[in-house]
Structures are given as C-alpha cells and as structure tokens.
Amino acid sequence: MTFLQPILLIALPLVALPILIHLINRQRHRTVVWGAMMFLLDAKRLTRGMARLRHWLIMAMRMLAIGALVFAVARPLASGTLGLTLGGAPDTTIILLDRSASMQEQNVQLGESKRAAALGKLAQLFQSVRRTGRVVLIDSGGNRATAIESPEALLQLPDTAATDGAADVPALLQTAYQYCAANQTGRTDIWICSDLRVSDWLPDDGRWAALREAFGPQEAVRFYLLSYPDIAPSNVSVTVEAVRLVTLDQTTQLLLDVTLRRPAGSGERLAVPLEFVINGARSVATIEMNELEYRLQGHSLTVDAQARSGWGYVELPADANLHDNRYYFAFGDAPERHTVIVTDDIRQAEPWRIAATAPVDPAIQYSAEVSSPAERNSPAWDKASLIVWQAPLPEGEVARQLQQYVEQGRPVVFFPPSPSSTESVSSSWNGFRWGVWTTRPDDEPLQVQSWRGDSDLLQHTLSGAPLPVGKLLVYQYCTLEGAGQPLATLAGGACLLQRCAMGRGACYFCTTLPGTGQSSLLRDGVVFYVMLHRALAIGAATQSDVDQWGAGTSEAREISDWPMLSPLPPDALSSDRALFAGVLQKGERLVALNRPASEDRLDVLTDQQVGQMFQGLSYRQMKEEIGSTSALASEVWRAFVVCMALALVTEAVLCLPPRQTEADR
C-alpha cells in the first residue's frame, strides 16, 4: 500500500496513545486505606475472564480508531482488487513494454490502442503514487534500459511508440535482470505491458528456466503483468506470401499471393476491399471472406514492361489494428538458381542435377553444372546459389574458398564420398571428417527416428503437413565426426542430416547418398527434392536484389541506415526505421520490411502457462481491457474512515454500563 501523504504516517505511533493513557492512569492512582478488602478481592477474582477481555477489546478498538484515522489522513492508495504494491514503494520500477504490432490493436470507439492504454494506466499510477524511486523503460523495439524522468514522459517518448516488429519478452526480462544485477536495484517492481501473445512470450523457450533461476533468489523483485489478452473480433490482417514478376505475351505481370486472416469467432461473411498500390498506381479487388483465412493466389497486376524492379503494398481498410492492414513488398527479376555439383564420380551426379533443375517456380530459371574436386575454384561458384559437394572434404585453398562461400550466406550440402571411392577419406574441413561406411542388411534398413520440422531444410510445409522424412529407408550411411546441429537422426542415434552455422550462412552434412544402394532418398524423391530446393532458395535469397524481412529483426537492423522509400510514421525516429514496415533501398537492392509472420499468430497465453513461466516468482497478473476506467491504484481513505467509525461505535457499545439486574438494584 502506498500513500499520498506518507509523511503523516509519522503519527502512527499515536496508536499507542490509549496504552499510554492507560499506563499513566495506572500511575496516577490514589492510595486509599480500605477496610472492605474481602469484597475487593472477590471483585478482582470475578473480573478475570469476560470483563478483562471486554476491556482489552475496548483498548484495541481505541487503538484501531487512531490507526485508521492516521492511515486515512495519509491518503492510502491501493488497487481495488489486486492489493497493488503491498509493502511500500519500490526503489526501482522497470517497465517492459511490448511495442509489437499486435499491441496496436485498438478500441475503435475510443481510438486507444492496447499499448497506449497500458502506458496511460502506468502514467496514472506513477502520478497518483508519486514514486520517488527510479523508473526504467525497456521496450521491445530497442531492448535497452532507459531511465524515465517523469511519468508524463511515458506517453511521449519515441521509445514507447508503436512499431511493426515483434516482441521477445524473454529477452526483455534478461535485459531487466542484467539491469538489476548491474545496478543493485534493491526492491524492484517489474511491470510487463503486453497482450500475452504466445509468439512474443515463447513459453517453450529455454530462457524461461534460466530467468526463473536468475530471479528466483531475488525476493525483492516483483512482477506485474499488465495484460490485454482480448483480441478484437473484427480485425483483419493482410500478408503477402509471395511476389513473382513474370513476362507473358510481351506484358509484364506481377503475381501476388495474398493471405487475409481474422480471429476465431468472427465467422460472418465479410466483404473486404483490398487495395494494391504499385509504384504509385492503385487498384482495388474486393474479397468475400467466409472463413477465418482467405488465400488469394496469383493475383496478377500488370506493371510497366520496362520496370524490372519496384515496390508496393497491399492495404486493407482501417479496422481494429492499423498495423496489420498494410503489407509492403518489393519485386524484381528473380536470379537464376544455379547449382554446382562437385563429385568424385561424375556418373553419379545425375540425381542432383535433375533435382536441382526441376523448377519449383516456372518464372525462375534453374541450372546446374557438374564438376570434379580437381577443378579448383570454379568460376561458376560466384553465381552458384548452392554447392552440392559429394567428394572427400576439401583442403587448402579450396577449403578456404568454400568457407568464404558459406559465410556469405549461401549453403553447401556435403554428401559422403562414394563407398567405392579409392581416395582418402581422412581429410577434414572445419572440424568435420567423414568416417567409415556402415551397411545395414537389405531387409533391415534404418529409418529416421526424429527430425526438426519447425525450421530449416526439413521444415513442415506451409499448410503444416510434415515432410515424409519418416518413410525414408537408409541402407548405408557414413559416420561423421564434428559438432553440429542435428536436423534428422536415424534409429540408433546416428545422424542423417546435420547443420553447421558459419557466418551468415550454414552448411549441411547428409550422411548417406541418394542412390538406391545407400537410401531411398532418390526413390521416394520428395524429401530429396524439397531439401535441395530449400537450400537453393536460401542461397538465391542472398543473390536477389529484392528481399522481404521482418521489421525489428537482426537483418533489418543491419540495413537501418538505408534510405526508406515508403513514408516513416510521424512519431518514429529515423534511426529506428528498422522497426517499422516500409521499403528500404540501397543501390539496386530493395528490401521490404513488414511485421514478422509471428505477429499474425493469435494464440494467447493461458493463465496456466503464465503460472508456469513465473513459477517460484512473485507476480500478479492484471487483465485489463482497452478503455477500462479503473485505475491501477485508487485512494482508499474512505475505507479507513469507515473502519475508524466502526471501531468507535464498537468501543462505545463496549463501554456502555452493563444492564442492571434486579439483584443489582
């Protein structure tokens, strides 16, 4: 409980006044010579019990009345339902602000967003309780601690403005912990303003355990979750999934894959006018939404035949969240997806060549060339989107060049040398070394026991369906020495596919060959094909002149000094342009920044999940709604006045002389 006039609490010792008066009265006693001691002693004996209890109660009521009076004049503040900040004001208050795009969801009538509502509540709280300790802001945009001078500043700081990025709440808490540890903050209140989206809180992230362990011993730290978990049912978001520039019959067309989403519970039919703006030219297509998700595939827009690149956006009419109504995109000629296959047995290179040149997208050119390890530093490497290396690991200059290639962001997929290869397999590259081949009986091939379906080459499809990795059969595999991130593991624990990050990119090691003698990769085909083309797409992305990244991501921050073609929000700092949706350009290269895809996930943390994340920590959750007029803290002096009145009435009743009985009269 906090007080507006805490200085008046100095008077709290007055609670002892009735005791003092009682003791003084006892000291002020007269001395009387007395004869009728027998009655006096009888009376003293009889007064034990209820009479004595009555007098203690009278004393307690008097003390309570004085205490309540002192508390009332000190103007106590408390949350009506939460027992806010029980135990006094903290030395430091840290505000963790979720500035993600989803926090911009607003009450359409009031025009107030969740973020603004949370900031307003906090500012009101700090103004009303007049906190004297430090107030520190850590926002999801910058994830750095900034001291706040006054509560009013919360509403005006650029660091509290809306962004189009996501929020990484565990990272914010880590920053808060580092701040607490570095500044020895003493009693600390950590306020987390968020809409509790699972995509921002990442409840399964391993950092939560570390945070619980870090904050656990710090009893002086308390967490307050100022949450806005409600989702506006009328909100519709738009995402551009893919943009392709194709030339058909002398006309250049832009093909857009657009997805509209709306939350569950809004099942009524909805007509959405979708506006396309490309290089300043506008067009509108009206979409009839019957389901929660609508995919507009290959919506074609004719563009200037001479324009080989450009940018634009797709926009929805204003609704509950303005930050998911516009989606920027950039387009340009897709680079040729060229694969270099290095093999010590050129006859066996055919499967890779066929897979790499079979087009995924007809608008993109695919090519492949086969070379032997002896052709050192092939000039084709410069334009290659992917290198498939099925030979002993490179050494010397070739190894260095291959490492440089990977560090630029383009992948290399290593396959083991053929079992029949006569060359030495003892060479190593970056700590990796091929071992010996293990052969399984024909009737007991190995199957994939587990694989990572959440990301990378074996990720589930866009529809969520897993790749048929589990159906693969492996008859021969080569052991691999070296530490990497397993993407697929065979029964028995041997690795089938491993990833090793290097610089901006990564290389992959597949421990079997696609041939029928080694595995069913080629026979089943799907996994092999998808794996190669995903690796190709990764490499091609680094070669393309256009790209599409999430706002606020590390890639976006790297180009935050690029000029922005689209307008920046008026309250945004130009140095923070990486946090906002838009299109940035440097030279021929165009990058469209948008809210990350995770921001369109509508899952909200359950109370149980919150409880698990904060298990062992002192936390309170306040579920608020936009436009709620209840203050986080309000004056409760009336309650103390009522308490005082009740105490006085009780004291008066207890002081009434006992009703005389007939015998007494």
């Binding site: 009265n25 006892r26 006693h29 007269r30 004869g35 001691m37 027998m38 009655f39 009479a51």
Partner: protein, 299 residues
C-alpha cells in the same frame, strides 16, 4: 493512667438527652440484685403476675386474704421479679476499624456508641463489661456495677487502638462461653467476616440466652465504591495492597457486597439478633435513640 485518657467521645448533651430512655433487654435477665429488668424468677415487684394455690411451705405473707374471703380457698398472689442487667460491650478493634468517614473513624464511632451505652447502663444500675476484639480478646473487663468499674470501662474505651486482623467469629464463640449468665451483648463492628462464620457465633450466643444486638458500622464509600480512577487500596489489616481500577471491578464489587449483606441479613434474622446497620457519617445519638426506643417499645 485513667487521668490521661480523654473522654471526648462522651457528649454530656447526648447523655442528658438519652438518659430519659431506658436501656431494656428484650428477654428476661438473671441479675443478682433488684433492677428494672424482667427476671424469669417470680419476685416482689409491683407487677402482678398470677394466682396459684397455696401449698405448704409457701410464705403465708403472700396469701391473698380477700380471695380467701370470696372463695374460702387459699391462693398465693405472685408478682414479677425485677433484676439488674449485665451489659457486655464487644468492640471490634481490628485494623479495618481505622477507616475514616467524615471526621470520625469507625473506632471513634464505636467509642461513642460503647461509651454512651456503658454510661446509660451504669446509670440505671446495670453491670457493664467490655471486651475488645482484635485477632483475639485484647481486653476483657467482666461486667460489674460500681462507679469505679464504670470509670475503668470508660478509660479502656478511650484507649482502644485499631490494629491487626479480625478474629471476630472466634471471639463470639469465646464470649458465649465466658459470659455465663444471661446478658445483653452489644457487638460494635464492621463485621468484615464471612457471614457463615458470624452465623455460628450469633447462634452460640443465643444458645446461651443472651440478648444480642449488633451495630454494623459502614463507611459510605464502602457501600458506593464510586471511584473514577485506579486506586491503590491499602489493607488496614496487614494484607498486601491491591491496585485496581474501580471502573472495571465496580459491578463485581457490588455483587459481592450484595451477596454478603443478603447472607448476613439471613443470619441475623435466623438468630434473632437486634441488628442495626449504621453509617458512621450518621449522628451517633440518633442511632442510639432509635436503638433505645425500639427496645422500649418491645418491652
């Protein structure tokens, strides 16, 4: 020693006024000389009692010749015998008698009552004795009826000191044994003794055919117990002092007092005790006048 004792407790005016009222016993007394009190023995007073038939041996001087003339039979004419009274004054001299109400302590008040009664009894020819009752008999003067004895009694009354605890209940039993002949026993005390113990003492005295009267002395504060702040009560009989808040215990005090008075009333009623509750703020001559008048009417 007697020359040094002041008899300021005797007021000549009061004595003169009360002299007109006799001190009578409620029951017949057995005296050794003729007096103004009834005796259970037939005597030669002027008060006719009854006729009875003459039996040989009767004093022929008591024959009623007129009755013989009318009935030709011999009748003896009998008269009441009047005798003197033994007045035994038992005065409580325990520490609690130091309690002061107004100008007088209870002991002062007891002196006035006892001195005046002793004087009045001696003046009408009765024997007067004095027993001072502390924890036991501190002084014991058997009743006698000469003037020198009265002076001695008055001297002792004047020199009484209130001190120590009270042993009144036991003293009543002892008095019942020591005063062998019927007597008027007047007890002057605050009676701070459990009524049950007093009851047996009273009954013992009544068993000995004594006429017992009690002056129960009270100081008004003892009845009211109207204090408004904590008081340290000093026990005059030597007990430890008691610190108490009268506002807290007043109700229980009055309850204990009422219970005591109820039991005491029952005891004196059962024992036919002439009981007088006396506030020491009252004029003692009024108290004595009421006492004497009541006895005169009861004769």
């Amino acid at each position: 020693m007697s020359e040094h004792v002041h008899r300021d407790y005797l007021d000549p005016g009061v004595l003169a006024r009360l002299s007109a009222l006799p001190l009578d016993a409620r029951f017949p007394m057995l005296g050794n000389v003729s007096g103004r009190h009834r005796s259970p023995i037939r005597g030669s007073s002027l008060e006719f009692s009854e006729y009875r038939k003459y039996v040989p041996g009767d004093d022929t001087r008591r024959l009623d010749w007129r009755a013989y003339g009318r009935s030709d039979r011999f009748f003896i004419k009998e008269f009441e015998a009047d005798t003197n009274l033994r007045l035994c004054l038992i005065v409580d001299t325990s520490g609690s008698m130091q309690v002061r109400g107004g100008d007088l302590t209870k002991l002062d008040y007891a002196r006035r009552l006892a001195g005046t009664l002793a004087y009045l009894a001696a003046r009408q020819g009765d024997a007067v004795g004095l027993y001072c009752a502390g924890e036991s008999f501190t002084r014991e003067i058997p009743p006698k009826r000469n003037a020198a004895h009265l002076r001695h009694v008055l001297d002792q009354i004047g020199s009484m000191q209130a001190t120590g605890t009270t042993g009144l209940a036991q003293i009543l039993h002892e008095a019942a044994e020591r005063v062998r002949q019927r007597a008027l026993i007047i007890i002057i005390s605050d009676l701070f003794v459990p009524p049950g113990e007093l009851r047996s003492g009273f009954q013992h005295l009544r068993f000995r055919k004594h006429d017992v009267a009690v002056f129960h002395l009270w100081e008004q504060r003892e009845l009211d117990f109207a204090f408004d702040r904590p008081i340290r009560f000093l026990d005059l009989e030597g007990g430890p002092p008691v610190l108490a808040d009268p506002t807290v215990i007043a109700r229980q005090y009055h309850r204990a007092l009422q219970e005591y008075l109820r039991e005491l009333s029952q005891a004196v009623r059962d024992s036919e005790i002439d009981y007088h509750r006396v506030g020491i703020e009252e004029p003692y001559d009024d108290v004595l006048a009421r006492f004497l008048l009541a006895r005169t009417r009861g004769r």
